[in-house]
């Protein structure tokens, strides 16, 4: 086969096309889809591909930010810029509102809020009657995610039943749900962290600035570097230091760790990710460290 008349398609092209296919299937089969947009790199890639899947039409569904209230200001600025540039409809499912309305207990001003996201997410889904929610989760992130279908069925309580998942054969994605039930759709299931970064470089996908190395005050807690700021204050014995860091994931500001890094370009980040000894969540997420099955337990309750 000559390459002159047949442009090569590579691994990234196939991943991108497969994701476009999944997004179109869900939009065709479901009544009210929504895309969960955290401002993190995976949801940035997902949004980029979703826009491609329906171009030149406008994105035929809104995006929803599950907002813990503990945000990095850079991420909120990025979110709002994306929403304005792409003329998206933004819904915010707020953890603070869930606390104010008494739907979840108040963990205190500095308490960890990741687990409370589930309530805000399910509340947002039922309030807007969404029957499908796109997420940027990847199977290489966690051992429970490695077990989940591309279209993950959730019952009327939003729960995942890992012992009784729908068979998902070939590329026949089946999106039928009854009233009140919903689907989580993960078009990036088969992508690895490195695929995401290579795609971001190829496509020039915009990202929040905190993914790139920058100097900021940090402190060490639970073997992680946390950014000192509105939601993280030094406790007795903790020392605030200034370091060159970047974030490998974007999550709740009170429990997402930074990594020491001088990678301030996409090339440097890709070189770093290619040689790291720690997994993305292992290096940066306190919320996954509580138990052996932290992610599975949260998913069972209705988490992403």
């Amino acid at each position: 086969m000559t390459t002159s008349t047949h442009p090569q398609i590579d691994h990234l092209d196939l991943l991108e096309s497969h994701a476009m296919f999944i997004i179109r299937e869900v939009v065709a089969e479901c009544e009210r889809p929504v895309l969960l947009f955290s401002g993190g790199k995976d949801s940035a890639v997902l949004l980029h591909i979703a826009v491609k899947a329906f171009a030149p039409q406008k994105l035929p569904f809104p995006v929803m930010h599950v907002d813990t209230g503990h945000n990095f200001p850079e991420v909120i600025a990025y979110r709002d810029e994306r929403v304005a540039t792409l003329a998206l409809r933004l819904e915010v499912a707020s953890v603070q509102q869930a606390i104010d309305e008494g739907r979840v207990p108040d963990p205190g001003p500095l308490g960890m809020r990741n687990r409370l996201q589930t309530n805000a997410l399910l509340h947002g889904i039922s309030k807007h009657k969404f029957d499908a929610a796109f997420g940027g989760a990847r199977r290489d992130e966690d051992k429970a995610r490695a077990k989940e279908r591309v279209l993950s069925f959730r019952n009327a309580f939003g729960e995942w039943d890992p012992k009784n998942q729908r068979p998902e054969l070939w590329q026949l994605y089946q999106g039928k749900v009854n009233n009140g039930e919903n689907l989580r759709a993960f078009p990036l299931s088969d992508w690895t962290e490195l695929d995401i970064w290579n795609y971001i470089r190829r496509e020039n996908v915009p990202l929040p600035s905190i993914y790139f190395a920058h100097e900021r005050p940090v402190l060490q807690r639970d073997n992680m570097w946390l950014a000192v700021g509105e939601f993280v204050h030094p406790e007795p014995g903790e020392v605030v230091e200034r370091h060159l860091v970047r974030f490998r994931t974007v999550g709740d500001a009170s429990c997402t760790g930074a990594v020491r890094s001088s990678a301030d370009t996409l090339d440097a980040i890709i070189a770093e990710v290619s040689t790291t000894n720690l997994s993305e969540r292992g290096a940066t997420r306190a919320d996954d460290r509580f138990s052996e099955t932290a992610m599975e337990d949260r998913k069972r309750e209705g988490y992403f």
């Binding site: 590579d10 096309s17 296919f21 179109r24 054969l169 690895t192 997994s279």
Partner: protein, 418 residues
């Protein structure tokens, strides 16, 4: 046809429960250094907590609480690995008969089956069932790990017996490429590292076999090019394009294409790919097509080049039945085929496949995990190829109309060995 996936191999583990599939995958991932330090540490911690030794390799993929408690795999785990030669997408499937539907899920997208069996016990009925399902799904290349050879003191005659059994079945099921490797997943012999004990074995290790296995069988097909229409895109300034993912072959601008089931022929005026206009659309690419003539094309219709598929409402198919409620003549269901869904009625059960001797018996119903031949009638026509010619236009699923559960995997036509 070009095979863009040759640097990538998708494989699934198949075989009976407790023969060591997950342990073998754990061994493969650990010995090729695919695990991060914190992941390895978590496996060690979990092993210690459950008192199963220093490192229970099955915990690498058996990530669910219930799986670790029961020591079995319940659902498929997908893992991604890369060696200097190749990228791998691994589907580690459950062996237990109760979870056959999950094994079929994992194997439906695999190009190669990595069969794991206990060499001491040979080919069990469940292993034969899995081999049969893999063959039906179109897998032609199998790598067989004759596991637990350490328990035989590496007795070559045990291995030879397995080779004979496997070759017999492989020939009948139509596998084109079969490699049997004596291994100990637990000790690591012949998985990534060559065994020092099995001096009589000169063949490849499991990793070597995976690195050299022919890939791309998924994309290859004997049909023409196909584009099941997913969505109609309105273009700025008027006009429509038809979006979908190409399979079966390639489309070229200027080519005659046929809209099915309408049977209207038109010219492919332009192709838009994810990165802009294209002259050629290759299989696996999501595109949208601009056609020369106005048509009433919509979701569920299909654009095709010769040899054309068949538009039909009645056809014979092979199904794997997944529901605990049996299926029989007269059962009403929904069918999803490519991008079209339609009501379907089972007209008759033509027979049930005996996975042991590959004969077909007369039955009146199919029960959970049975494989059978059925005659179906749909409300709307669907546009099909034989599954052996095209895995996309030849496959369908059946859906329970009340619960929306997926109750069967279906393939148009039947395999040569039936």
């Amino acid at each position: 046809m070009s095979e863009p996936t040759s640097d990538l191999l998708r494989f699934a583990t198949v075989g009976s429960v407790d023969d060591g599939k997950s342990t073998l995958i754990g061994r493969l991932l650990v010995d090729t250094r695919q695990l991060f330090d914190d992941q390895l540490e978590a496996v060690a911690t979990a092993s210690a907590k459950r008192g199963v030794g220093d490192l229970d390799l099955s915990f690498v993929t058996d990530g669910l609480r219930a799986e670790r408690e029961q020591g079995i795999t319940i659902d498929v785990a997908y893992r991604y690995a890369a060696t200097p030669t190749r990228k791998f997408v691994i589907a580690d499937c459950p062996g237990h008969v109760q979870y056959t539907r999950n094994m079929a899920t994992g194997a439906s997208t695999a190009e190669v089956a990595l069969v794991v069996l206990d060499a001491n016990e040979g080919l069990k009925e469940q292993t034969r069932r899995h081999l049969c399902i893999a063959a039906l799904l179109g897998v032609r290349v199998v790598i067989v790990a004759a596991n637990k050879m350490d328990l035989t003191q590496w007795d070559e005659s045990v291995y030879t017996k397995v080779v004979d059994q496997v070759n017999d079945v492989a020939q009948r099921l139509g596998f084109t490429d079969t490699t049997v490797i004596p291994v100990s997943a637990l000790k690591g012999d012949n998985v990534v590292e060559r065994s020092y004990v099995a001096t009589w074995y000169q063949g490849p290790t499991v990793l070597e076999a995976l690195e050299s296995a022919p890939a791309g069988s998924w994309a290859s097909s004997a049909s023409g090019a196909r584009l099941p229409i997913q969505w109609v895109l309105r273009q700025n300034g008027g006009g429509r394009t038809y979006a979908g993912m190409v399979n079966g072959g390639e489309f070229t601008v200027g080519q005659q294409v046929t809209l099915m089931p309408q049977g209207i022929t038109t010219t492919l005026k332009a192709i838009n790919g994810p990165r802009g206009a294209l002259d050629v659309a290759l299989p696996g690419l999501s595109v949208d097509f601009d056609l020369a003539d106005d048509t009433d094309a919509g979701r569920g219709d299909l654009l095709a080049t010769a040899p054309l598929p068949t538009a039909t409402r009645e056809f014979e198919a092979t199904i794997c039945w997944f529901s605990d409620k049996p299926v029989m003549a007269g059962t009403r269901l929904r069918l999803k085929h490519t991008t079209r869904s339609t009501p379907v009625m089972v007209r008759s059960i033509a027979g049930q496949l005996d996975v042991g001797n590959l004969t077909v018996a007369d039955v009146t119903e199919l029960k959970m995990n049975d494989i059978g031949l059925v005659n179906l009638m749909t409300a709307e026509p669907i546009v099909v190829d034989d599954y052996r010619d095209n895995r996309v236009t030849g496959s369908f699923i059946l859906i329970d109309e009340v619960t929306n559960a997926t109750v069967a995997a279906g393939m148009i036509g039947h395999a040569n060995f039936i």
